[in-house]
């Protein structure tokens, strides 16, 4: 099987003037291409730190991080940005759409930074918006959309670059129950098409959509087990 992400003995300690917090403690983890993994645990257990390191937004203090077979743990910001553009898509709890840009323009943004031509951008944005069933809302601004539609837009933006992996940080945290299911199914669909998904969640319900659940506590992995039953919609 092809390993997409391989963390070995990763540590991350945050220092403030008074406190030293161990966010990740000798954590090792392997994720195979095409997996749908949930990370669960109480607040402060290191879930978000893990996600930030996997997403190359943060760097481990030591240990190794192989992404698609390449060591990326110690890269400079420029190289991390480059790899992030190519391989990683993000979905946030608070959607993080730019208020001044329309749905279309928000989704287009990663393609602009990737340097694609206007024609190519138009084609890919239209495709993605159709696929995520949000095309009819392309000219609206985020504040004119429902929470579900905003997260749909954020997911469209995350997948537009055809990333190897989508990192979702509590993607349903700000949504009501009906739109939660909608977003989770969307992630499942993307996963079914071959995109690896790693999701941080507090919700057992949402975690039930994934193939594998990792439970964390105090920066360590408490439990890592594959789910045998896939929850039906």
């Amino acid at each position: 099987m092809n390993s997409l992400i391989k963390l070995s003995y990763v540590n991350k300690i945050y220092l403030t003037s008074q406190v030293e917090t161990t966010a990740l403690n000798n954590l090792s983890l392997e994720i195979i291409k095409g997996e749908f993994v949930s990370v669960m645990g109480p607040s402060g257990c290191g879930k978000s730190t893990l996600l930030n390191i996997l997403g190359l937004l943060d760097q481990p203090d030591n240990g190794s991080y192989l992404l698609d077979g390449i060591e990326v743990g110690n890269l400079n910001e420029e190289s991390r940005t480059y790899i992030r553009k190519q391989k990683i898509g993000f979905v946030f709890q608070g959607f993080n759409l730019i208020e001044e840009l329309t749905v279309y323009e928000n989704v287009e943004l990663p393609l602009i930074y990737a340097g694609l031509s206007l024609e190519e951008r138009k084609r890919r944005v239209a495709d993605t918006l159709h696929r995520l069933k949000i095309y009819h809302r392309r000219r609206h601004f985020p504040e004119q959309l429902s929470g579900g539609q905003q997260q749909r837009t954020a997911i469209a933006r995350a997948v537009i670059n055809c990333p190897e992996v989508i990192l979702a940080d509590e993607p349903t945290g700000n949504l009501d129950s009906s739109t939660r299911a909608e977003v989770m199914e969307l992630l499942c669909d993307l996963n079914a098409c071959g995109t690896t998904v790693l999701m941080v969640t507090h919700s057992e319900h949402d975690a039930a959509y994934s193939h594998r659940i990792i439970r964390m506590l105090d920066g360590c992995m408490l439990d890592d087990r594959a789910r045998s039953i896939t929850k039906s919609a």
Partner: protein, 785 residues
């Protein structure tokens, strides 16, 4: 990419209208201010640039040392120019010129008094003129030929060719017009509307032929690449080779310095108007800086709003460089918009500005240098204002800003922001204090006791037969009952032009020479002016009776060193004159200086001015009309132009008044722009503290207490500004005042008043936002979270 940036900016602009308008208004006012100042500076710097080969044109100046002090003059001996041409290598042309003189030209009933010069033929090879009609050939070798400006020609002949026509000059001689030259621009230091032969002038003033009299200006054009230092070395004692006793040491003074560097102290260049040019250039940049600080402060203050955008863009693959470019291009775009708004402002306010400075400047975007400068200013502002926010915003950690529901602004940014507000208000305060002190100094000098009463005193230049008809004119004037007294003299009361270093008296150190102002007056002079005789007596009405007597002022008496100088004999060039009276000092030439020594003769032969004291109860308008008709009846064919001593006195404060006005306007604008920034900042602070205010209100805080809570931080900043501004302003203005002998002492209340004014303005600005927030419904503000 750029399109995406512009779109974001445009929509962000619309979403934050108040912020955006404050930014653009502040920058536009700043750029317009700077634009006006730079236009004025451009005009000052371009003085005399009209004349081709300006870098080779010089005037001859001379230094004369008396009693250890060196004075610098423009007047040179008449024979100097031909001698220099013959004996000094490297000189291409040299020309003599009379001082600027008014001639009355008339044709039929029409008469006009215009200023011009008598010059040598070489004058026009030094100052190239654009000849639009006729030719200069042979003009200056004919005594009664004249070259006139287009304006003068059109006044008499309209569009007809005036060449070959004649104009009567001073109602005596007919002058043939030989050529017409294009009008000179206003920014030349040697303006003239006519030129005539120097020989004619010399013929009337034979003393000009002597080496020991300094009476003409000498202009020189050097051959290109001539060594100026070598020439000045040769010139240093050049006059002494012709006249051993001469004091004057001459040197060449370049045309490019005539306007801005024409002050000399003790024989050395001591600047001049350049200090105002430099001062206002600095003020222009300071105002731009204040406007840019607004931009920086408002941009970083609302960084919470943009932090999320920065985080998203970074996660989406934007590199720091791209974000820096994005934010700087945003600020440049805003600066460009502000620049275009400022063009509108400048077009609108140009007439008022011209009125203020007494010039006709114009801004034109078709003028590439103006357009280029404007774009450059916008670019500099954009980069200056945008750079700090760009680096600050682009350095946000995306993890922090995307996770946090609310971002805590870094302490560093808050510190810088406060520092910038303090800088803005310190500058504004310095400008306010300086303005008040400049006005204080001007009004102090204006209210100075001049030693004579300047009100109801008018004078008129003598022309035609006025000199001869002085007594009948005076008698007729007195008979009207509208005039208290009248006199003729060689100078106007405010400006005395003649002086000499040749006097000696018993007990004088023979090695020292003292420069003494010389004035010819009539016995009516002292009563007309209202000058007080301290000792001795006035001149007798019988002028020849006092031909060997003089009256001196107190300043001269002090130099003589005798308790009573009456009766002392003053000797000059073999002739001795007795002091018969000492008058109290009266102020002349420099209104800020202590009066210099002066000697007065009773002699009408050198008179140039008729000065009249109008009766206290007489109606001025009616009186002048009556006096005008008396003069015209005795001296027909000449225009009569009365000048009020009081008005001319005001003219002497022109530069300082202009500086005071400009400083006042620019300090008002500086504080206005600073307040824009403060208003914006207060708004954001209030917005950020909405929840806190809600909680405090629920817990029972009163509205005044809340308004105070929100305002006090800003007012503290203004208070700190006072501490910085006070010593700086004191030091700068102390130095400025040192240039004036007659000056105010800096008083503490000016600082206190400026501080209070500044604090009040800031309080009004900030409390608007504070009260608005404090009045808000707490239920609403608590829900905003």
């Amino acid at each position: 990419m750029l399109k995406n940036y512009l779109k974001t900016m445009y929509r962000s602009f619309l979403n934050n209208k108040t912020f955006s308008l404050l930014n653009i208004a502040g920058l536009a006012i700043g750029i317009a201010c700077a634009g006006f100042i730079f236009l004025w500076v451009e005009d000052e710097l371009n003085y005399n640039s009209f004349f081709a080969d300006g870098e080779n044109i010089y005037s001859v100046k001379d230094n004369q040392t008396y009693d250890g002090t060196t004075f610098t003059f423009d007047a040179t001996p008449g024979p100097l120019a031909p001698a220099m041409q013959q004996e000094i290598p490297g000189i291409q042309s040299v020309s003599r010129s009379s001082w600027p003189l008014n001639l009355t030209f008339s044709l039929g009933d029409k008469a006009l008094s215009e200023q011009g010069r008598y010059v040598d033929s070489s004058f026009t090879s030094i100052f190239h003129l654009k000849i639009i009609r006729g030719s200069l050939h042979g003009v200056f070798s004919e005594l009664h030929s004249v070259v006139i400006s287009r304006k003068l020609a059109e006044n008499f002949f309209g569009r007809k060719d005036p060449v070959g026509q004649t104009l009567k000059v001073d109602n005596k001689n007919d002058f043939i017009i030989r050529a017409v030259f294009e009008d000179l621009p206003t920014n030349v230091t040697v303006p003239f509307n006519w030129l005539a032969s120097y020989h004619l002038f010399e013929g009337k003033n034979s003393w000009l032929r002597q080496w020991n009299s300094n009476g003409v200006w000498t202009f020189v054009k050097l051959q290109p690449h001539t060594d100026l230092t070598a020439i000045n070395k040769k010139l240093y004692s050049f006059i002494q080779t012709k006249n051993k006793e001469a004091v004057a040491k001459i040197f060449l003074f370049p045309l490019k310095k005539w306007r801005l560097y024409n002050q000399f102290v003790n024989g050395r260049e001591a600047g001049g108007r350049i200090r105002y040019v430099e001062l206002f250039t600095t003020i222009a940049w300071i105002i731009l800086l204040i406007a840019c600080i607004n931009f920086m402060n408002l941009a970083t203050a609302r960084s919470e709003k943009r932090a999320r955008e920065v985080g998203v863009r970074k996660v989406m693959g934007a590199r720091k460089k791209m974000l820096v470019i994005q934010f700087i291009s945003e600020s440049i775009t805003i600066a460009l918009v502000a620049a275009f708004v400022s063009i509108g402002l400048m077009y609108l306010l140009m007439p008022s500005f011209n009125l203020l400075i007494g010039k006709t400047l114009s801004v034109s975007i078709e003028n590439t240098s103006h357009l280029f400068s404007l774009l450059l200013i916008a670019l500099i502002c954009g980069v200056l204002a945008g750079s700090y926010p760009a680096f600050y915003l682009s350095s946000f950690n995306p993890v922090m800003v995307l996770k946090a529901q609310k971002m805590n602004t870094g302490l560093g940014a808050v510190f810088i922001r406060k520092g910038l507000v303090i800088l803005q208000f310190s500058i504004s305060l310095i400008l306010i204090i300086s303005t008040i002190l400049i006005y204080e100094q001007i009004s102090y000098a204006r209210q100075r006791d001049l030693g004579y009463a300047k009100d109801k005193l008018v004078y008129v230049e003598l022309n035609g037969n006025m000199h001869k008809s002085y007594y009948p004119i005076r008698d007729e004037m007195i008979k009207t009952g509208l005039v208290e007294n009248a006199t003729i003299s060689s100078s106007s009361i405010l400006q005395f032009g003649s002086n000499t270093g040749g006097y000696s008296w018993p007990g004088k150190d023979p090695s020292k020479q003292v420069l003494i102002t010389v004035e010819s007056i009539t016995p009516d002079y002292i009563p007309t002016m209202g000058i007080h005789i301290k000792k001795g007596r006035n001149f007798y009405n019988n002028i020849p009776a006092d031909s060997n007597n003089v009256i001196i002022n107190r300043a001269f008496e002090k130099i003589i060193g005798k308790k009573d100088a009456v009766g002392i004999k003053l000797v000059n060039g073999g002739s001795a004159r007795t002091v018969i009276g000492v008058v109290d000092d009266f102020v002349y030439n420099n209104m800020y200086a202590t009066p210099s020594p002066m000697i007065m003769f009773s002699d009408t032969s050198y008179a140039n001015y008729l000065t009249i004291r109008i009766s206290k109860n007489a109606d001025v308008k009616q009186t002048l009309s009556k006096l005008g008709s008396i003069i015209r009846a005795n001296n027909p064919g000449y225009p009569v132009e009365f000048k009020f001593v009081e008005e001319q006195f005001e003219q002497l404060f022109k530069t300082e008044t202009l500086v005071g006005r400009l400083a006042g306007i620019f300090s008002a604008l500086a504080i206005l722009i600073s307040c824009f920034g403060l208003f914006g900042l207060a708004g954001y602070t209030a917005e950020r503290r909405t929840k806190e205010i809600g909680i405090r209100k629920v817990l029972g805080a009163s509205i005044p207490a809340l308004a105070r809570l929100l305002s006090v931080d800003f007012l503290k900043l203004v208070a700190i500004s006072c501490l910085i501004a006070f010593p700086v302003a004191w030091w700068y203005m102390y130095k400025w005042l040192q240039d004036y002998q007659y000056r105010i002492t800096i008083q503490w209340w000016i600082f206190l008043a400026s501080g209070i004014i500044c604090l009040l303005i800031a309080m009004v600005t900030v409390s608007f936002q504070a009260i608005k927030t404090a009045l808000a419904d707490p239920a609403k503000s608590l829900r905003t979270e």
